[in-house]
Symmetry: C2
Subunit: 323 residues, 2 copies
């Protein structure tokens, strides 16, 4: 069932090319000796954002948030960021640089990360490439490959709001559903939630962020862990505004939730007993997570609606990776 | 004398914006607690290279070398690299990715650095953004700001060959002067030489690489250290092929050497006695360095030709920084 997409094929080739060190490649961060985590992510104008629909301050926030989300995806602790900036010469006026860096810095500050260096170059479009160095927490890290049959599937936050917000922006509809706009513009990486999770559960389990969509994250975890899942569509958290945007646009809200991407939420798989104990003993920290399904030993992801089988997960709709 | 150029002004603004963590910004690498070094550098098509005149294998080598040179510039030890790649969709065919990664990997292997992760995105031109994480050596690091009056000014290798090679490439002259072409295409970061230097001299001194040209490095060290220099043009090492390219093109060879850039050599300032002791006791490791001048307590860089004052250092000719 898990057909490699084009990016995965390239990554697989690259892993072969880089030989032994390729063992680090495949999760959201490289995990290195000394519990060092490294992750790098690029935001490129026209591919990832349009300056017509984002302020530079929001863009700075988002560029940092996207990278921090990769640290959250392994339940790590971010420490330092370096920022490579490329832009046409005309971009480099003080007001632009200040607005962009204020956004970058606001997000870095919020998540206690120090911006410690960078590079400034000329290029045809605005591009922001951030590398974050962090540490694994004492309890270890959670990878994509740690899910086992019988685990519950948990998620943070809600889904589909970011792509709903993007839709509003492209329609110049800036006022109707601020929740969706805010979720698209200033995503909140789930570092605190990931820290609570690994503190409560240790490193037995699987974790990933949903930068490329909930469906993609479920598929990636299933593939890396060689398991299947049963997911209850009715249990996937969605904000009322997201449902309204879907309804007004005559779109299936579950398509937004599954395939929309850029939610930067977490998907975790944990032993059911661990989850129940956590939920019973520390309902405050557990309440950031909701159960949406269960891991099984099939080789597919069965979508349900309550107890009724629903549509198939459509991997062709999964957020295009080389993006 | 040291007028801030546009990049330096922007960096200065950014340092203010990022507040306390800005103390790490300004050298070739950020130096972090735990002796961690981080550096990031972008190579952007059309700004830094043309696919008409470089093979992807050479480009991969160079992208890695440029970043490793920033570690050499602080006498550090490189450990890990992450690579963010952005390119038009048509670029992403196996042969291109393999050729590029073979070059990246060859250089990383040569300098014992592990490629541990990356990101692949779509963008209007080919862009390769590498971040390297390394360690300071036991003896510490050498910064730009450590030069003192009375120090000797030392350099590795030779100057002007890379820009001479670039000139040959843009003229489609691929055969006459292979030394210059090779120096432009596959620069050799001076990690071994930097390691020998700091082992022999400890962390008293100044060091920088000449990615933006010899003149730029001399000016940056002078500015950061609040010193002046007297530099003997006749002592600047130049390869015979570089002189030939200059002569055939009716160019001043010293302009190539001073302002050409992309040599990725080192400039170091050391106490004269330390240099003499090193030179006497370990001529083998010392011979990688040549004396080209002396640090003084003026506020300018006086170029000499032997004992005669020569031209002024022309900072307007210094390699354009936002590039």
């Amino acid at each position: 069932m898990y057909v490699l997409n084009r990016e995965q094929k390239l990554i697989s080739q690259i892993k072969n090319l880089v030989g032994a060190s390729g063992r680090f490649i495949g999760d959201d961060c490289a995990i290195l000796p000394g519990n060092l985590l490294i992750t790098t992510d690029a935001l490129i104008e026209q591919t990832h954002f349009s300056l017509n629909s984002t302020s530079l301050n929001d863009l700075g926030w988002k560029a940092m948030a996207v990278n921090l989300s990769d640290i959250a995806a392994m339940a790590g602790l971010p420490e330092y960021a370096v920022i490579a900036l490329s832009a046409p010469e005309a971009f480099y006026i003080s007001n632009n640089v200040i607005a962009l860096y204020e956004g970058l810095q606001a997000c870095a500050d919020h998540y206690q990360t120090s911006i410690v260096g960078g590079d400034i170059t000329r290029g045809p479009v605005l591009a922001i490439i951030i590398t974050i160095v962090g540490r694994a927490r004492q309890s270890g890290v959670l990878r994509r490959s740690g899910a086992k049959a019988g685990d519950v599937v948990l998620v943070t936050g809600d889904f589909g709001a970011s792509v709903a917000g993007l839709r509003l922006l492209t329609e110049n509809n800036f006022f109707s559903f601020p929740y969706c706009l805010e979720k698209h513009r200033r995503p909140q990486p789930r570092l605190t939630e990931a820290a609570a999770l690994i503190e409560k559960t240790g490193s037995r389990g699987a974790l990933m962020d949903t930068s490329d969509g909930l469906a993609d994250a479920l598929a990636q975890i299933s593939q890396a862990s060689s398991v299947g899942m049963q997911i209850d569509l009715a249990a996937i958290p969605m904000h009322a505004d997201t449902r309204s945007v879907a309804s007004q646009a005559n779109l299936d809200p579950y398509d937004l939730a599954l395939y929309g991407g850029e939610d930067y939420e977490l998907v975790a798989c944990l032993p059911k007993a661990v989850w129940q104990a956590w939920h019973n003993q520390s309902p405050e920290s557990a309440k950031a997570f909701k159960v949406i399904g269960i891991v099984n030993d099939t080789d597919n992801i069965q979508l349900m609606f309550g107890n009724e089988p629903a549509r198939q997960l459509d991997l062709k709709k999964v957020f295009q990776h080389i993006s």
